[in-house]
Amino acid sequence: MREVDSETMKIVVCVKQVPDSWAEKTLGADNTLDRGSVDAVMNELDEYAVEEALRLQEAHGGEVIVLSMGPSQTTDTIRKALSMGADSGVHVIDDGLHGSDAVATSLALAKAIEGRGADLVIFGSESTDARMSVVPAMVAERLGLPQLTFSSSVSVEGSTVRTNRVTEYGYDVVEASLPALVSVVEKINEPRYPSFKGIMAAKKKKVETVDLAGLGVSADQVGLAGSWSAVEEAAARPPKAKGTIVTDDGAGGTAIADFLSAQKFI
């Protein structure tokens, strides 16, 4: 357990660069996303994670470090977080990471976070490209941190972090001792826009780059080769089939009931 004081609270926010949600995406020969062909943006939920980290920093002081793993253009996403107000960045970059699945990604991220003395690690609860929501939990497990996922509010008091964990029926109030890992949902806040001053200030902020050797991870633990899962095949979503139109000539109700029953809805 660690007592957090305002001078030393350290937050690591993990952010991911993803293809713009609206963009047409294509896969490369190895069934991984062709990142060159689409506009890249910061994963939307990660903006909420950065915002929450900045709000905690505004309330408690301390330091916000933004961490991202990805190819060279990922620096744009790190810069965006820095222009929102994060203090420094860590860019995990290595050709060997290409094609890493969630398990492999969690290893690289955990190694990059390890040893930084983070009191709190914050993630967006899912990425808009992979949509698995498992990486935060995996990273917490690897680091041996309590995980407070799907949070719609986060507060820190002394050595305790408390969150509202969104559930199907509402939310649970959960708490853990620091250090801990939190993932956030979009209900939690309204992310700020970077100001021009923020953008200019970000230019001067430090971004450390780390490769696999620096992480102490070997090439066979990550990337396409080190991943437990791989995409074997992919197909475009078939175009929407035409709906069935039922003209109500007195038996409309029966026709709808038959349809729902055939689809096993009733």
Binding site: D76, R79, K80, S83, R192, Y193, P194, S195, F196, K197, G198, I199, M200, K203
Partner: protein
């Protein structure tokens, strides 16, 4: 001379574009319909740092330049001219005269709120019977030595940002003496709420419905003597000296309008089907869209060519007038053609290009008409034009 924008300017453009798309575009039609000045959004523009862009950090500004301001105005104008002109006027007419001509004490008193976008300032030059013709100024200010006050009487017309809930001041030009039969014009800061300073009801305008515009009247309006801005007798000359910045900024606004037309028409010409094919398959439509692209490129080159000269400290009077003249006339042409491409929908108030069409006309009039720009250009060319 075109200079590539810096990485930071490009990053900033993206931020303003996101802001405009999320915070302005979804509401602009309703603001236009209801003639609403959206205070909350203007305050949010302030938080983004837009109103402080070209001012030094010591007053809370962004320490940027005219080029960066133009980027912001251009991006706002792509979705809504009213918010773009609110920014342009807030910076160019509200804060800039105080920054340029204010004493240190005046700057400290008035600039921080204007620069932060917590407050707006207006500039009252135009009168019912005087615009670019400053000699026609009827508003008078007499110094009451005993009271240490200026006493202002007169009328101002078409003053942007003069009656919003966050308007903190209006700088007015007034005749303070007659020197050799010619009026001596000075600029005086009148804080909002000063007794004798009355804001008239908003105008009924052809466009820019979400922008705040009023006539102002001054009856025995008294402000302290230290509210004189800059040199006595130099009020109009001072204003002329900062007009060039405003012309480039208005040209940037016009550029955003042309880009909006290009984007909307390119999409619509591909989507809209008539006679069994997209209307863009017809040369009559496709060529109009091609012309929009030409106007956008030409306007961009002129706007940023002038802005970059200004930021490099070079003369840019002629370039500013050329940019304003071309971009604003092109914006009126572009919106007219875009409305034509949209056919019947183009005539509907809620169609974006229709709003841009109504809004664009003022661009050929405000901050110096097209005719005044031609006059400036002619003089810069050394012609003996009257």
């Amino acid at each position: 001379m075109l200079v590539e924008p810096t990485d930071e300017q490009e990053a900033f453009r993206k931020v303003v574009r996101d802001f405009a798309a999320s915070e302005i575009a979804p509401h602009a039609e309703a603001w236009d319909r209801d003639h609403t000045f959206p205070v909350d959004v203007v305050l949010a523009m302030g938080e983004l740092g837009l109103f402080g862009l070209p001012f030094p950090e010591e007053y809370g500004g962004g320490g940027a330049d005219l080029t960066t301001l133009c980027i912001a105005i251009e991006e706002l104008a792509r979705v809504d001219q009213s918010m773009a002109i609110t920014l342009e006027a807030g910076v160019g007419l509200g804060a800039n005269p105080i920054f340029q001509f204010g004493t240190e004490e005046q700057r400290q008193r008035w600039l921080p709120d204007l620069v932060a976008g917590r407050a707006l300032g207006g500039f009252g030059l135009t009168e019912p019977d005087a615009g670019s013709d400053a000699g026609g100024t009827r508003t008078r200010a007499v110094l009451d030595d005993a009271a240490g006050e200026w006493v202002i009487d007169g009328e101002k017309a078409f003053i942007t940002n003069s009656g919003t809930p966050i308007t903190s001041l209006v700088t007015v030009t007034a005749v303070t003496a007659s020197v050799g039969g010619r009026p001596e014009i000075s600029a005086i800061v009148v804080p909002a709420g000063t007794a004798g300073f009355e804001v008239q009801p908003p105008y009924r305008k052809m466009g820019w419905h979400a922008s705040d515009t009023h006539g102002l009247s001054f009856v025995d309006c008294r402000v302290p003597a230290d509210h004189l801005l800059g040199e006595r007798g130099r009020g109009f000359a001072q204003f002329l000296s900062i007009l060039d910045d405003g012309r480039v900024a208005i040209a940037a606004l016009a550029l955003g309008v042309i880009e909006c037309c290009l984007e909307e028409c390119r999409r619509y010409a591909n989507e809209r089907v008539a006679f069994g094919r997209a209307i863009g398959a017809n040369q009559a439509v496709a060529f109009k869209v091609a012309d929009l692209a030409v106007m956008a490129e030409a306007a961009r080159a002129l706007v940023y060519g002038a802005a970059v000269r200004r930021d490099a400290g070079r003369s840019f009077k002629k370039e500013a007038a050329i940019a304003k003249l071309y971009a604003c006339e092109a914006a009126v042409t572009a919106t007219r053609e875009a409305t034509q491409i949209f056919g019947g929908y183009g005539f509907m108030d809620e169609t974006l290009v229709s709003r841009q069409y109504r809004d664009a006309k003022i661009l050929e009039i405000g901050e110096g008409t097209s005719e005044i720009q031609r006059l400036v250009i002619s003089r810069e060319l050394g012609l003996p034009v009257q």
